[in-house]
Assembly symmetry: C2
């Protein structure tokens, strides 16, 4: 089993030194969230993840969730762990105090998301979708519904799902067939089949609140006829307690490559009673409130799995002796620890420079997210929202893809022991492999970025982002300057690349589609470099206060700028050769 | 279960049109290997792989090899299939007719290796190591031993293994502890433990011939004290028939991420009787005869798995309807096949351009291998051998890594259906994941390339290779010229990169170690481009004879030059920033 120590030190560094968003710091509701409080929370979070949740990963892999006589059973130990987990209040961390939540900002809850992704992604998923459903209900439903459903969800006694996919539609939800027939009492009866439903059924909670998209009988075809419904596993009685079973059954659960502890269900809705949430035929945009926050969390999952893969690679590299390094001092036929080999050091630094850069970028994004949701000034909210919307597909795709690179490198460091089950490294690789797929495949994210996020009714969002990065980077003094200059080179590339995309979008959309993944990656690598500039600035200015810590940061950043950031240029070069040759290709 | 159609057409194209090595064509022993004969062989090979072997992949994954009461049982159906497989003579394809083989050149047997890797890698491994052991015995053992062991191995009634790794040594074989004590009759008694032994035990053959490296009691420490021994599972009687069981037992078999049908064994040698092969203390170099050929085959495994992943992605992309493409003509809310989307087309062409380029490069390498082994002129043999030795780590590493890229892209095209077990795509991804690890991890290959292969006692091998590529590429006329010019740009980079490596190798070995993987990849992408130049030359010259086929080749090559080859430059740029920052890094 892999070991894990939550990176509380790095998280507190970000919280203490990189909380630099003026608008975020103006949010009154977070005035009380002090550094001491956050440190206490993270230390408690570290304990539960390291001690209680980490062992569930291997158990879930060896004893997957099963469907027995129509009932889904989670792996051994999940129930007991979940009970403790909700008793300690971890589901409610970022929820509204009005419904029993602790009201912590995303700057804190994102750290928790990372930790639990490191410990056990499969276990995490049982509460993750509850938070997604919570956010959607909190944002779109009436007070009556909120009062009825949210407290139990915040408490973790009830869980939630997002029911979108059907056999013939995943990406293209306009094709969906699930029907909703209005009843005299204003409720709806839903009939149809939903697939790939994470935590669609399980034995951890008393009730499951499904958020389902479906088409009312009098709604138009396509995406403009989709409404959102709340469909509980057990219908509530008038007093809010649990009543009769609703018309929902579990058809089967998927056998998957990884995250085997998580139940991925086929759900059959058969005249199931549902309540419409928000306005009719606007279901897709409501669902996307939830989806967008979820997508960032999927990126964080990739980060969390990368972190545990790195930690175990590092300790194995220190321990395993093999071969002599170029500067070996070992005698008598003894071998050196493999960490003495330049290539292994390079691989470890590649992991570390990506992980710490991602964490810093994510912390910046958490601040933006809070501003976009909570600032008093509508204009400031909108500007932050544009940044969040730009970065959402980037974080989802890049972090999940780099999670594959990092877990793969962890296997290589472990050699044959990485491919066998004993050390649990191959499980990290299998578990992470879902992240580039679910919540919209990474290519769908890239299409979203280039066709909807770069430039929209609010203007040229990406140039606004690049201008901000440029101004901030060039405004740094002293030793940061050489890094700013290097970043400047890649910013120029990205300006050109963005102009190319926006221009091609007018007449050569296929060029844009074919370039989308490359563009996303180039933007992502530059965004991570932007975070490193922030980190470097603190590291140089604050150097004397904590020399070892900051030396580590500075050298890690150097690696990122020398060895990782150059990838952005290849993506540009590959993309701008266009698509005419691709589109005319006749596959036989 | 994935479907598979062997790419006989592309293979015959190579055999008919790219058999351009003058020295190979001078080899008298292959005078009779006509195009008609090869076509017949490949068509029969296609049948057995498509019909008999392909279904074993899924069976092996669901019913892994098991160890029961000390005996390894292969998955259901393996025994029957293996019987048919050896009856039809497939193990003997490339073996010496003197021992019952069919004497086919590697230009043909490599095609078979690719097909069976597509069909079932786990099943393939049971005979693959027999061929490795055959090659080693054939090359190094006395006539007496050859006469005694080879006919049964060629027939497939006995199989073979390579026993190198021990718990404390994988890459660094100098650390090995297995002891060999000489007996009065000249045989040895071997004692020690070997791990990760592919096909170390199983129920498919009557006997298993282990080739084991061990240290004689009076041999020095380190790699200079290693000898090679033939240690059969059952000791032979004087008449060559099977006698008593030798002192070898199976301690356990590994539970692995993939290739579950293949038994990976811990073997305990306990006073096991062995015969020394070749001169004492020269075991490692003898073993490397076998290892080098094996490494090329591992590259071919990656190619084979890539091919089946591509075929299934292509058919799924034609069938699955989702979303509207940029140029959609579909009406009434219907969706387009996903192959209409530019990004999916791009992904498919990425696969195809890599696969066909790899196959062509491999065909070139097969010709070189035959020349290196069989030409009458020692100088010509040596030159070919240098090319083979240069390309071995490149093919092993690049093809196995790109196999991961291609099987991963296949999963993305399949979306959620790629992550669940039904379609068998995730199995391709898991099965291929061993190829970057075994027979020396890809980083070990890269170190081998930069420290031993680039430049050695025979001179600057890589410059000789680059000069050859340059002369050939620049010598092409007509429409190939624009491609040659593009390749010229990357050749210049590679000349610089090679000089940088050779120079750094004098005083800054860590720079070389840290750059090794990047260098291998840059050389590999350029080598594949070289193969595409050959293919393009035929395609333009022969265009009128087969327009559709050659149009396909030309457009696929264009994609490779526009979208894949630029990666070489990123690898150069990333590498030459050196390693001083890496080496001084203090991991805490």
């Amino acid at each position: 089993m892999p070991s894990y120590t939550a990176p509380v030190k790095d998280m507190m560094f970000l919280f203490d030194k990189l909380r630099d968003n003026k608008n975020y710091n103006e949010l009154e509701k977070y005035n009380d969230v002090s550094s001491e409080l956050v440190k206490d929370i993270l230390e408690e979070a570290a304990k539960i993840n390291q001690n209680l949740i980490l062992p569930l990963a291997k158990i879930g892999d060896e004893h997957p969730a099963v469907l027995e006589n129509g009932i889904v059973r989670t792996p051994p130990g999940y129930k007991e762990a979940y009970k403790k987990y909700i008793e300690d209040g971890w589901t409610s961390l970022s929820c509204d105090p009005k419904y029993g939540g602790q009201g912590m900002p995303r700057t804190v809850s994102a750290f928790f998301d990372e930790m639990i992704s490191s410990a056990s992604l499969a276990f995490k998923l049982y509460s993750e979708l509850t938070l997604g459903a919570y956010n959607c209900i909190h944002h779109h439903a009436s007070d009556e519904i909120k009062d009825k459903y949210l407290p139990k969800m915040v408490e973790g006694k009830w869980s939630g799902t997002m029911c979108l996919t059907e056999p013939i539609c995943g990406t293209d939800l306009g094709l969906l067939k699930t029907k909703a027939v209005e009843q005299p009492d204003g409720t709806y009866k839903l009939t149809g089949q939903k697939i790939f439903i994470t935590s669609g059924d399980h034995d951890l909670t008393e009730n499951i609140i499904h958020l389902v998209i479906a088409r009312a009988t009098d709604s138009p075809k396509g995406t403009k006829g989709i409404s959102l419904f709340l469909v509980p596993k057990f219908i509530l009685k008038d007093d809010g307690t649990i009543g009769p079973r609703n018309g929902i059954s579990t058809g089967s659960i998927e056998t998957k490559m990884g995250i085997k502890g998580s139940a991925t269900c086929v759900l059959n809705f058969d005249d199931a009673t549902g309540i419409m949430i928000g306005p009719k035929n606007k279901g897709l945009s409501q669902m996307f409130t939830m989806m967008n926050l979820e997508r960032i969390v999927v990126g964080i999952q990739g980060l969390g799995i990368s972190e545990i893969a790195y930690q175990n690679s590092l300790s194995y590299a220190k321990e395993r002796k093999q071969g002599k390094s170029n500067n070996s001092k070992s005698q008598n036929g003894n071998a050196d620890s493999i960490i003495e080999h330049a290539d292994i050091k390079r691989t470890l630094l590649n992991m570390k420079s990506i992980i710490e850069g991602e964490r810093a970028l994510c912390f910046w994004l958490s601040q933006q997210t809070e501003v976009s949701l909570n600032h008093n000034d509508q204009k400031i909210r909108q500007e932050a929202s544009d940044m969040v919307s730009l970065m959402t597909p980037v974080v989802k795709s890049l972090y999940s893809d780099l999670g594959m690179e990092i877990t793969s490198d962890a296997m290589q460091i472990h050699g044959g022991y990485g491919y066998t089950k004993d050390q649990g490294i191959e499980q990290l690789y299998r578990d992470n492999r879902i992240t580039p797929i679910y919540e919209g495949t990474n290519s769908v994210q890239a299409a979203d970025l280039v066709f909807r996020k770069l430039s929209n009714k609010n203007g040229n969002i990406v140039n606004r982002f690049l201008d901000m990065v440029k101004a901030e980077s060039e405004g740094k003094n002293g030793k940061v300057k050489s890094f700013s200059k290097e970043l400047g080179h890649y910013l120029e590339i990205l300006y050109k690349f963005s102009d190319w995309i926006i221009d091609k979008n007018k007449f050569e959309k296929d060029d844009v589609s074919a370039a989308a993944n490359d563009y996303l990656k180039a933007l992502g690598y530059v965004s991570i470099a932007y975070s490193w500039i922030k980190v470097l600035d603190v590291s140089f200015n604050d150097y004397e206060a904590n020399k070892d810590f900051y030396t580590d940061k500075i050298n890690t950043a150097k690696f990122y700028f020398e060895k990782v950031l150059p990838r952005a240029e290849y993506h540009y070069k590959s993309a701008i050769s266009g698509s005419s040759n691709i589109m005319k290709f006749n596959f036989i």
